[in-house]
């Protein structure tokens, strides 16, 4: 009886097993990468907006505080996008002829909402709350990046679960004094640069984080990484 397969088929079979493993892991890691890529998360991509509103201009240039526009961020779950009236506080007199601002003026005249494109959008099955983060000493910058350097708003972080958890597992690495929460230029303490809280000077984030964790009564890591914290 002649052989059905040539001898070389043995090598081929072995090679294809290996090939399969390689292919699967390649597909796997490609999906892994894809899932975290800007293509899926929208990270670092500024979507089109009805008005090219620049945080760089208004925050760094004019020194406006986040709360001038995002008024509810301290007391509620959502930060809120300012109504047209807030823009008109100033633009009733400034850049009154700029074509760029026509949608704002139109909205003010007609009472129709400006339709901003959401940049940060968690799935609806996730519960998120701004006020607790601010009150426990997490700065806007830790999540939104250097907003004062963004001519157009984009996503700084992926907002994926692993990102939330990377902080919930060790929040002490990110905590800052409450009065610095809105600052875009705050620097963590270092041997050359002390941060003062309640009369004590801290020279390392390790010490500061531990002290703030105590002071702001943070719950344990178990509590804030349990599924029902964010999925309720």
């Amino acid at each position: 009886m002649s052989q059905t397969f040539h001898r070389s088929a043995n090598t081929l079979a072995r090679a294809s097993i290996l090939g399969m493993v390689l292919l699967l892991s390649a597909v796997g890691s490609a999906l892994f990468k894809l899932q975290r890529s800007p293509y899926v998360t929208g990270q670092h991509i500024a979507p089109d907006q009805p008005v090219p509103f620049s945080h760089q201009h208004h925050v760094a240039g004019l020194g406006l505080d986040c709360r001038y526009c995002h008024t509810s961020v301290e007391q509620s779950s959502f930060a809120g996008i300012p109504p047209t009236k807030t823009c008109m506080n100033c633009h009733a007199q400034i850049w009154t002829n700029a074509a760029l601002l026509e949608p704002v003026r139109n909205s003010f005249r007609t009472g129709e909402s400006l339709q901003w494109t959401r940049v940060h959008d968690l799935p609806d099955f996730v519960y998120f709350n701004h006020s607790i983060h601010l009150n426990k000493g997490v700065g806007c910058e830790s999540c939104h990046g250097r907003v004062d350097e963004m001519p157009l708003m984009y996503l700084e972080n992926t907002l994926q679960m692993e990102w939330c958890l990377s902080c919930h597992r060790e929040p002490e690495k990110f905590l800052r004094p409450r009065k610095e929460v809105f600052s875009m230029t705050y620097q963590q303490p270092s041997p050359e640069h002390a941060v003062e809280v309640g009369g004590t000077k801290y020279f390392s984030q390790e010490k500061l984080g531990a002290a703030l964790k105590d002071m702001y009564h943070l719950r344990t890591m178990r509590d804030i990484t349990s599924c029902s914290t964010c999925h309720r």
């Binding site: 004019l62 505080d65 609806d124």
Partner: protein, 217 residues
Amino acid sequence: MALLGLAVVCVLSAAGCRQDMQDQPKFIPLRSNDFYADHRSARDPLPGTVPWTKTPLNEDVYFFSGKRGNAFGNDLPANIKFDRALLARGQDRYNIYCTPCHSVVGDGNGMIVQRGYRRPPSLHDPRLRNAPLGYFFDVMSNGLGAMPDYASQIKPEDRWAITAYIRALQLSQNARESDMAAQDKATPGPSDIRMPDTSATPQKPGAPATMPQGGKQ
């Protein structure tokens, strides 16, 4: 190969099917929706709705208007306690909402004014130093001339805190040596800001004659 294909299809379709729980048909703040003609999820209260607040609207007119009858009062409403915390809160809020135009010291040379906004009068103008507290509350609540109103951005409690802080700012910029406490004189430094005791001298009906034309007397 078929298995692999199946696996890939499964993974890809799982990745593609996630939208149901992602975008649930519920209202969340500021989300647009097609049910209402104006596409807003956030609804205005129906006409005639009576607000439920800690201080009922009709019982504490002064708290919500800064006025008794037709005259501005020169004291804080009963439910606002004057203390350091109030001044600190006022300073905080003033720095957020007022400094863009009035500047940190209140001289009216804020950043937005430098970019072309109409220049407001200095808060240390004698006319404004003599204006009753209720007047400042009213300007914030209703605006005045080129000054926009802040009723939707600042809660009434906070408007009163800002009012108290403005008075403190006015006093601090015009302090005389005799205002300083003895220990501060010995070691010059920021002295405690004290408020004039307004409760002892009942306000005459009607605001001072120096009231700006914008004020409704």
